[in-house]
Symmetry: C2
Subunit: 572 residues, 2 copies
C-alpha cells in the first residue's frame, strides 16, 4: 500500500492579518518540506482568518486575500499544500466562495468550493457565500485525494461519499470548527461513520486559537481506511504535526482527477504514530478559556489586563485563567472595598494574588460613593436609594477600573458567569464594564468545578478554600447573599439550561414538574435581561448555546411562554 507523509499545519491565524498569516503559513510549509512531506494541510480560510464576517464585503479585502494566497502558492515545491481562502467569481465579484486551493510547484493547481454552508448557531455562511457544486479529485504523490471543507462533512448529502465512490483513496477535510463541550465526541462520531461508509482514509485538519467569542481547539486527526486513528495533534496548541500513514489501494476512478504532484514516495522509514492524548473535560474547558482570553488580549494589541477582585469565586477563577493566559506579571488585580465589604474578602484576595504571583492594589470606593450620594441627594427627595445605591457602588468600581485601564493601557476583564448573565444579576456599566468576559459561558456550578479541578492539578490550594466555600454574595448591602434573590445555584443552573440552551418555555417546564412560581419568575428574568446582555462584553463560547451570536433574541419581546396573557404593549 502507498504511504503518504502529511503535515497537519494547525496554525493560529488571525482575522484580517493577511501578511502575518502568510508568514505563518510559509513557516509551516517550510517545516513540512524539511520533514520531506508529500502534503501540507492548512485550515479553512487560513489566509484571511475565520470568521471574517462582513470584511468579505470589502472587495479590496477579497483581492488582497487572493494575492496572499498567490504568494503562498508561489512558495510551494514538491510538497503539495491545501489552503483555505475566500474566492470570488471572476465574472461577478459579488459572488463569493469559501475555497480550498490545492497548490504545488509554485502555483495553484486547482480549487474546491465548499458545498455545505452552515447558517445556524454562530454561523452565517449563507450571508456571504455561494455553494460550490463540482466534485474534483486530485492526484497527490500518486494518491487520489478528495478535498472538502468543514460543514461538507456534516451535511446529509455530503460530497465525501460521491468523491469516495468516484475514486478518492483519501478525503481531506479542512476546518475552522468552533469548540464547545462534547464537540470532539460529535466530530469523532461523524468521522468514524464516514470512514465506515466510504472505506476511505480521512485527514481532519482544524484551526487552533480564538477569534472574538469563538475558540478553535485544533485536535486534527488522521484516520486510515480501516478506521484506525494514526495521528492526532494537540488541543489548543499551535504546531505542525507530521504523520505517515498507509493509504488504501487505488480504486476505479470515475470523477475527473487533476494532477497536483507526481512524486513517488521517497524511500524513507515511517515515523511512529503520534497521538496526543485528549485532555480531561474540565481541563479541556480551562484550556479553551485560557486560549480565548490570550488571543483576544494579544490580537487586540494589549499585553496586560486588570479586573476587580472581590473575594468571590468568579473573580478568583478569572484571575487564574488570566495568569495562565498572559503570565502573572501582566495581571493586575484591583480590590475596591465599599462600606459593605467583608474583611475576609480582602484577606482571601491577598492570599490568592500571592499564590498566583499577580500584583494587586486596594482602592476603597468610599470617597466617590459619598460624593455621588451627596450629588444625588436632592433628586432622591429624602428617600432611601435602595437598589440604586447597590448599582451605584458597582458602577463606581467600573469607573475606577476603566480609569486604571485608560491610564496604564490595560484591558479590563469582567468576571461574570453564565448564570448571572442569564438572570441579569449584574450592574450594567458596573461589573459588566470591560472588554472581555472570560467565564461568561460557564455556569456558576461549573465555575466551582473549574476552581476545584485547577487546585487539584496544581496540587495545592492556589485558590484559597475560603473563596470556594463562602456563600456567594455581591456585598452591595449589609449581609447580602445571592440566595436571597435567586434559588441556590445547583437548582438554578439546571433550570437555566432548559430555558437558555434547550429553548424551553416556563409552561413546558412546569408541565415537566418544575415549580410554577420560580420557573415563571426566572424565565421572565432571562427575557428582560436581554438588554443587559446586548451591552455586555463578549467572551469565549464553551457550550453549544452561548449568549452572543449563538442566541439572537429580540430585546423588545413581550412573549412570556407562561400561563395567562402575554404582557400587552403600552399604548397611549
Amino acid at each position: 500500500m502507498p504511504s503518504l507523509r502529511i503535515a497537519l499545519c494547525q496554525v493560529d491565524v488571525v482575522v484580517g492579518a493577511l501578511d502575518s498569516n502568510v508568514d505563518l503559513l510559509l513557516s509551516a510549509l517550510d517545516e513540512a518540506n524539511q520533514a520531506d512531506c508529500d502534503l501540507a494541510v492548512f485550515p479553512e480560510l487560513a489566509i484571511c482568518g475565520y470568521p471574517p464576517e462582513d470584511l468579505v464585503y470589502k472587495r479590496a479585502f477579497v483581492e488582497d486575500n487572493r494575492a496572499a494566497l498567490a504568494s503562498v502558492a508561489a512558495a510551494t515545491a514538491d510538497c503539495a499544500a491545501i489552503v483555505g481562502y475566500v474566492d470570488a467569481d471572476p465574472n461577478n465579484p459579488d459572488v463569493l466562495l469559501n475555497a480550498a486551493a490545492i497548490c504545488a510547484n509554485g502555483e495553484v493547481k486547482g480549487v474546491y468550493f465548499k458545498q455545505g454552508l452552515p447558517n445556524y448557531d454562530v454561523f452565517d455562511e449563507k450571508r456571504y457565500f455561494t455553494p460550490g457544486t463540482e466534485l474534483p479529485l486530485w492526484s497527490i504523490a500518486g494518491v487520489t485525494v478528495g478535498v472538502t471543507i468543514c460543514e461538507d462533512m456534516w451535511i446529509e448529502d455530503t460530497p465525501c461519499v460521491p468523491m469516495a465512490d468516484g475514486g478518492a483513496q483519501m478525503i481531506v477535510n479542512i476546518n475552522a470548527s468552533p469548540y464547545h463541550q462534547d464537540k470532539i465526541e460529535q466530530r469523532n462520531e461523524i468521522l468514524d461513520a464516514l470512514v465506515a461508509k466510504t472505506g476511505t482514509a480521512f485527514v481532519y485538519l482544524n484551526l487552533v486559537g480564538a477569534q472574538d467569542e469563538l475558540v478553535f481547539d485544533g485536535a486534527s486527526v488522521v484516520i486510515d481506511s480501516s478506521g484506525k486513528k494514526v495521528a492526532r495533534a494537540g488541543q489548543f496548541v499551535e504546531h505542525v504535526h507530521v504523520a505517515d500513514f498507509q493509504v488504501a489501494e487505488p480504486k476505479e476512478i470515475t470523477l475527473p482527477v487533476h494532477e497536483v504532484t507526481s512524486r513517488t514516495s521517497p524511500s524513507r522509514s515511517d515515523l511512529p504514530p503520534k497521538l496526543v492524548p485528549l485532555l480531561p473535560p474540565l481541563h479541556e474547558i480551562w484550556e479553551a478559556l485560557v486560549t480565548g482570553c490570550r488571543d483576544y488580549v494579544y490580537n487586540n494589541g494589549f499585553t496586560d489586563i486588570c479586573f476587580g477582585l472581590s473575594g468571590g469565586i468568579d473573580s478568583a477563577v478569572t484571575a487564574a485563567i488570566a495568569a495562565d493566559a498572559l503570565g502573572p506579571r501582566h495581571v493586575h488585580a484591583v480590590m475596591m472595598p465599599s462600606r459593605f465589604s467583608s474583611d475576609h474578602s480582602v484577606s482571601d484576595s491577598e492570599v490568592l494574588c500571592h499564590n498566583l504571583g499577580i500584583s494587586s492594589q486596594i482602592i476603597p470606593i468610599e470617597p466617590a460613593h459619598q460624593a455621588f450620594l451627596e450629588m444625588l441627594d436632592p433628586s432622591f427627595h429624602g428617600s432611601e436609594p435602595g437598589l440604586t445605591e447597590e448599582n451605584l457602588q458597582s458602577r463606581i468600581r467600573g469607573v475606577t477600573l476603566m480609569a486604571l485601564a485608560n491610564f496604564n493601557r490595560w484591558l479590563v476583564l469582567t468576571t461574570g458567569n453564565k448564570s448571572e448573565l442569564a438572570v441579569g444579576y449584574s450592574t450594567l456599566y458596573g461589573d459588566t464594564a470591560g472588554a472581555f468576559a472570560v467565564i461568561k459561558d460557564a455556569w456558576k456550578t461549573q465555575v466551582y468545578a473549574l476552581a476545584e479541578d485547577y487546585n487539584k492539578r496544581a496540587g495545592r490550594l492556589v485558590i484559597p478554600e475560603g473563596i470556594i466555600t463562602k456563600a456567594p454574595s455581591a456585598e452591595l448591602r449589609p449581609d447580602q447573599r445571592d440566595d436571597q434573590s435567586l434559588p441556590p445555584y445547583d437548582k438554578l443552573d439546571p433550570l437555566l439550561k432548559e430555558l437558555v440552551e434547550n429553548n424551553k418555555t416556563a409552561s413546558e417546564l412546569v408541565a415537566d414538574g418544575y415549580d410554577l412560581e420560580t420557573t415563571q419568575r426566572i424565565a421572565r428574568l432571562v427575557d428582560i435581561a436581554e438588554f443587559k446582555r446586548r451591552q455586555s462584553p463578549l467572551g469565549t463560547r464553551i457550550t453549544a448555546r452561548a449568549f452572543g451570536r449563538d442566541r439572537r433574541m429580540p430585546i423588545t419581546n413581550l412573549y412570556r411562554g407562561a400561563a395567562g396573557r402575554d404582557e400587552a404593549p403600552r399604548r397611549f
Copy 2:
C-alpha cells in the same frame, strides 16, 4: 370590471405579544367588516411580530402563534383576511415556514409559504425558514388573487410572474419591510416594474411601528392593473385604510385556485381614492426616529426617559425627538456641568427645555470628579491623567444618569450620532451609557439638517440658534473642540460614508483622490472603535447600512486596507 373593497390593515404589532396582537387584528378586522370590505390584509408575521429572531426556536412559541392565528381565523366572516404567521411542517416541527394564512368564514382556507428568504443586511431568514415552492391562487369575492410575502416581490425569479401568468388578476404582497432613506423609491420602482410586466393589480401592505433597531414605515399602496396608484396609507401611522378599486377582467387560469369567499360585489358606491401624501425627506426621517424611540420605550415597559443635555446639537435633537415621541412631560433633561463646561452650554440648554416644555435639573459633577481624582491619585504616580480624566467626567455623567433612571424607573437615552460612533469619539460607559441611542444612525451633518428642518416646521427657533451655530465640543478639557481631533464634519461624513456604507478601504479611497494621512487615520479609527460599538445601545436604523445587525464586523481584526503590512498579532 369587478370592483373590490380592501382594508389595508397597517397595524403596529409587537414581537411576542401574541394576545394583544390578536386583539389588534380582531379590532382591525371588525373595522373592515363594518366598512363592508371583501378583503382585509395584514402584515407579514402579524401574529407574532417581526422579526421574532430566535424566539421561533421555542417550539411552544410556534405552537402558541398557531393557536393565535386560529383565533383570528375563527373571527372571520365573509370578508376574507390574509394574515402572516410562523408555520411548522406537521411531520417535522424543526422545519419552519414564513406563512400567510388566507382565512374566511371562521377558518383557514389555505396557506402560502414565502419563497424568497432574505439573508443579507439586517435579515437572517435562511437561519430560520425553509422556502415554499407552491404557487396557489385564491378566489376571493369572484377575483383570482395571488398571495406573496415581502422578498418574493424583490427576487429575480419572483413568484408574482407565474402567478399572474397562471391567472391571478391581483397580487397581494404582505410585508415587514424595514425603513431606510430612499427605500420607498426602491419599492415603487419594483412595484411599477412588476405591474408593467404582469398587467396585474398589486396590493402592497406593510407593517408600521418599530422593533429594536428596525422601524417600519407602512405607506401601504394599491396599484391598479394600469399602473395607477389608487390608495396609499400614511407613513409611520397605524390605521385601517379602506380602498375600492377596479380589478382587470379575468384571465385564463392555469394554476390551482382555492375558493375562499364566493360573495359577489354588493351594490355600493365606490369610495373616492385616498392617497396620503408622502412626507418630505427630512420630515420622513424625523418621523422614523420618533416612531423608533416611542415603540422602544413603550414596548419595553417605560413611559419616561432621561438624558444628558450638554448644550450641543446632538442632545438638543434627541430631546426634541423624545418630546415628540413621548410627550414633553415624560422627558427629563439632566445638565451635568463639569469644571470645563462653558456658561452658554447651560443657558442654551435652559432655553431649549423651556421651548420644548420638558423638565430639567442641574447636577454639577465636581464632587465625584474630585473624589475620583483623589482615589486614583496614588495610581497615577503624580502624572497628569489627560485623556483618562476626560473619560472620567463622561463616566461620572453616565453613573449619575443611571442612578436617576434606576431611582425613578426612567429609561436613559443616549445622544451620540453616527459620525461619533464611526470613529469612536465617545466614552464607553460614559456618554454611550443608556438603553436606546435615538440618533445613532444619523450623520452629524444630517443632525444639523434635522434640527433646521424641525425649527422650520415649527415656525420658530425651538432649538436655539446658539446650539446650532456653536462649534462642536465635548467640553472635557479647556477650549476643547471636535475639529482638534477630527476633520470638519462636512469633510468627515462623506469619507465615513465611503468606509462604512460603501465598504471602501483606505487604499481605494486614496486612489480616488482622498488625502492619504487623513484617510488611513480615519479608517483605522473606524476599525478599532468596533469594540465600543458592540457595547453601545441599539438605535433606529435610517440608512441602508447602519451599525448593528446590518454591519457585522469582527472586533479582532488586523486588516488595515492600507499601504504597507497589516498589523501583526502579538506573539510571546
